[in-house]
């Protein structure tokens, strides 16, 4: 694996270490947030969710923020999303996945009046393969479609927006449907691939509209050579609103070129990486969004200074003709209390925009919504973390932090309009030019026994003080979760997660606040493993126990669902 990607994963791990949760299989790559409640995770569809870990600092969600570790994420309007993932599966294998929301009628339909029928439940489907290497060459194919979060009365509304069908399969009008295939070449020095495909995606915008976009085709080429990683993408995106007889087309080239710190460099005190992310667009007709000057060039620099084992500084700095963004942090592990792993840290984030490569305008019924705000934001956070082991099977830890943010990005809504069941908004992206302050605390207990059991009980709270009615989302104030992974006889895995989060509230997408009530949820994965043959058969139930509810304005119901996965490695 490329060293830059390695570094990205290590960075992600260090960020994620406090949020240990069970290894519940996600229904799709990028949908892990559905099984998380260690913060505020509100799902509107597979293509839009608010994802903010408690204690992350600031009031923005993670997917709103650009960082170098998201260079392979998809830019869906102004969010960076793993799904629909074009990351080639790394292990040569064949896999198939299918599932359904629970609650179809089947023979109950013979006993039920049509007006009393429950809403139709919808499936997911995924299949694909990656071949073994043949003289370094490999081929891959993947088809995946998630029909969850799509079937309520909004389905009828969306059907009128497009001409003909808008997915590979079925009549559920899923929020995304994707297929691609391609070739790659891998050896000790090079990892390269070219993938091509077509996909249907409903993108959620600042006005709260779902916009259908068909990528026809989308081509992505990647090459990691030595310490350089390059990605080039060509997209021909077709936009339409059949009801209004509008159509448009965007031809886009985007990607990145990155030089990352090599192995020798990583052993040194100073580690430097640098890169350039870019987008060039050419719009024709009605596209609904716009990028100023039809381009975004984003050079960035990453630096780590590690003068000792205990002390490290990390800095990321990016700048272009419109925006700048700095993310830096310092961590110090107190040496005299080494066994207790007490870490003091601080982080700072400043910039003119959370996502400097996103579009700058949205066009909505004659109105131009500015997606950039004057001024800058500044986020400061200080934290202390401690993680201790009481015996060789139990440990506990805590993390406390204080953060303050000035100039947080928000939306200044001028007016709301109703269209069918939907509420849309006019206005502009704006700032909260006053300080928002918060204290956070998390406490966890971990229990483990050989490779048979990993158990974590985790709880956290966050108290935020600021102009809360101007927050896009008031995050949950507390959560508690109990997570366990059992591995019986090294071949049968049971992972489950029982958790509760308190209420969250959307303030700015509807006239009145949209409250997402807190609840308990239970997820579980049961997996038969066959290590000798590289086979895995798994069944997963998601969102059990809790009430089925809509978690975002203009979103769809998050329902209990079950899916099964069969995989065979070559």
């Amino acid at each position: 694996m490329n060293s830059f990607i390695n570094k990205i994963i290590i960075s992600a791990l260090s960020v994620s270490l406090t949020s240990a949760f069970a290894s519940i299989d996600p229904e799709m790559e990028g949908m892990e947030v559905v099984s998380r409640d260690d913060g505020t995770f509100l799902i509107g569809s597979p293509t839009f969710y608010f994802d903010r870990a408690l204690g992350a600092g600031g009031i923005h969600s993670e997917s709103e923020l650009w960082t170098p570790r998201k260079l392979h994420h998809r830019l869906l309007f102004n969010r960076l999303s793993v799904l629909p993932s074009w990351n080639p599966i790394e292990t040569p294998s064949i896999w198939m996945k299918t599932g359904n929301e629970l609650g179809d009628l089947i023979y109950q339909d013979f006993l039920t009046e049509s007006k009393e029928r429950p809403i139709n439940r919808t499936p997911i489907l995924e299949g694909g393969f990656r071949t073994p290497l043949f003289h370094g060459l490999w081929a891959t194919f993947r088809l995946f479609q998630d029909d969850h979060y799509c079937f309520y009365s909004a389905r009828a509304y969306r059907m009128n927006q497009v001409d003909g069908s808008f997915s590979y399969f079925g009549e559920n009008w899923p929020m995304f449907s994707s297929a691609y295939g391609g070739l790659g070449f891998t050896n000790d020095f090079v990892n390269a691939s070219v993938l091509a495909g077509m996909e249907y995606i409903w993108i959620f915008t600042e006005s709260s509209r779902w916009i259908p976009v068909q990528y026809k085709p989308r081509i992505e080429a990647r090459a990691d050579v030595g310490n350089f990683s390059t990605t080039f993408v060509y997209e021909n995106a077709e936009y339409q609103n059949y009801r209004k007889k509008e159509s448009g087309e965007r031809k886009e080239v985007n990607g990145s070129i990155v030089y990352s710190c090599g192995e020798n460099c990583q052993r040194g005190m100073l580690q430097l990486s640098a890169g350039l992310a870019f987008r060039f667009v050419d719009d024709d007709g009605v596209v609904y969004t716009g990028l100023a000057n039809d381009r975004a060039l984003w050079p960035f620099l990453e630096m780590r200074v590690r003068p000792s084992e205990q002390l490290k500084f990390d800095v990321m700095f990016g700048v272009n003709d419109r925006d700048w963004l700095v993310q830096d942090s310092v961590e110090y592990q107190i040496p005299v209390l080494e066994k207790m792993k007490i870490t003091l840290g601080a982080k700072n984030m400043s910039g003119t925009r959370l996502n400097p490569i996103a579009d700058t305008h949205e066009y909505f019924d004659g109105d131009t919504i500015s997606l950039t705000a004057n001024g800058k934001m500044n986020l400061l956070q200080a934290f202390v973390r401690f993680d201790d082991t009481l015996t060789n099977f139990i440990g506990f830890g805590l993390r406390g932090s204080f953060w303050a943010e000035h100039g947080a990005e928000t939306f200044e809504a001028d007016k709301y309009v109703k269209d069918g069941i939907y509420t849309f908004r006019h206005g502009d992206v704006s700032r909260i030019n006053s300080w928002i302050k918060a204290v956070t605390g998390e406490f966890w207990v971990k229990l483990w026994y050989k490779d048979l059991l990993r158990f974590t009980a985790l709880t956290g709270f966050e108290r935020i003080d600021g102009k809360e009615k101007r927050f896009e989302v008031n995050p949950s104030e507390f959560f508690v979760s109990f997570n366990a992974d059992w591995l019986i006889k090294k071949t049968f895995r049971i992972s489950h997660s029982l958790r509760y989060r308190s209420d969250a509230e959307w303030n700015l997408r509807t006239n009145d606040p949209f409250v997402v009530k807190g609840d308990w949820y239970w997820d579980a994965t049961f997996e038969q493993r066959f290590p000798k043959y590289g086979i895995s058969l798994a069944g997963t139930i998601i969102q059990a126990l809790g009430r089925e509810m809509i978690e975002t304005p203009n979103g769809e119901y998050s329902r209990i669902r079950f899916f099964c996965t069969a995989k065979k490695a070559f």
Partner: protein
């Protein structure tokens, strides 16, 4: 602690690469101790399905048949995969004759020595249904089944082999199946015969 962090790290890596989680193949002890597929057999089975509870008013009893495989998973536990077919006729006034139903099941059979030769089993089931209808009247009762409908559920099963000759065996089985339907869960009882041939 280092081991725990390693395990935790592996867990997080598997989260970040949830679609690519074949790390278990790299556990040499697990590979060495893996006795799966040391025995493998195929079986035919058939019998009758008895709808239970509310479902007794919805559909008639139906015959079913199918194929399956047993494979060694642990010493006293076999994995099982089954595919079955049945055709349900409605009891109520439905505008078509019946419904095709295909069932797929994945589970495990436990050969508990205490009650041998009785075998206990359980697992997940998936039923795919489609009405035997030429016209679609979605608003009528049963109309949803004119499109493909699928529902998952679970099953529990007791098997009693009563006959064994060389690589062949035969016996009875009874299964309880629950599909996670709405507005109520759907329960059915299966009873039938199994004819099995050991392949290796």
């Amino acid at each position: 602690m280092k081991k725990f962090i390693t395990i935790l790290t592996l867990g997080l890596v598997s989260l970040l690469h949830a679609e690519d989680s074949f790390e278990f193949r790299n556990d040499s002890v697990a590979v060495k101790e893996d006795i799966s597929f040391s025995h493998f057999s195929v079986f035919l089975e058939g019998g009758e399905i008895y709808p239970m509870g509310d479902l007794m008013d919805a559909v008639e009893n139906a015959l079913y048949g199918g194929i399956g495989v047993h494979y060694t998973y642990w010493d006293n536990v076999d994995g099982v995969v089954m595919f079955q077919y049945t055709y349900f006729k409605p009891r109520t006034d439905i505008y078509y004759d019946g419904v095709h139903q295909f069932m797929g099941r994945v589970g495990a059979d436990w050969k508990w020595p205490v009650i041998r030769p009785v075998v206990l089993g359980a697992g997940f089931t998936c039923s795919w249904t489609r009405a035997d209808a030429e016209q679609i009247h979605y608003e009528k009762r049963g109309g949803t089944l004119t499109d493909n409908e699928t529902e998952f559920g679970w099953y529990a099963r007791i098997s009693l082999p009563v006959f064994k000759f060389k690589e062949y065996s035969a016996g009875f089985h009874v299964s309880w199946e629950q599909l996670w339907t709405l507005p109520k869960r759907s329960n059915m009882l299966y009873a039938g015969l199994t004819l099995e041939r050991s392949i290796w």
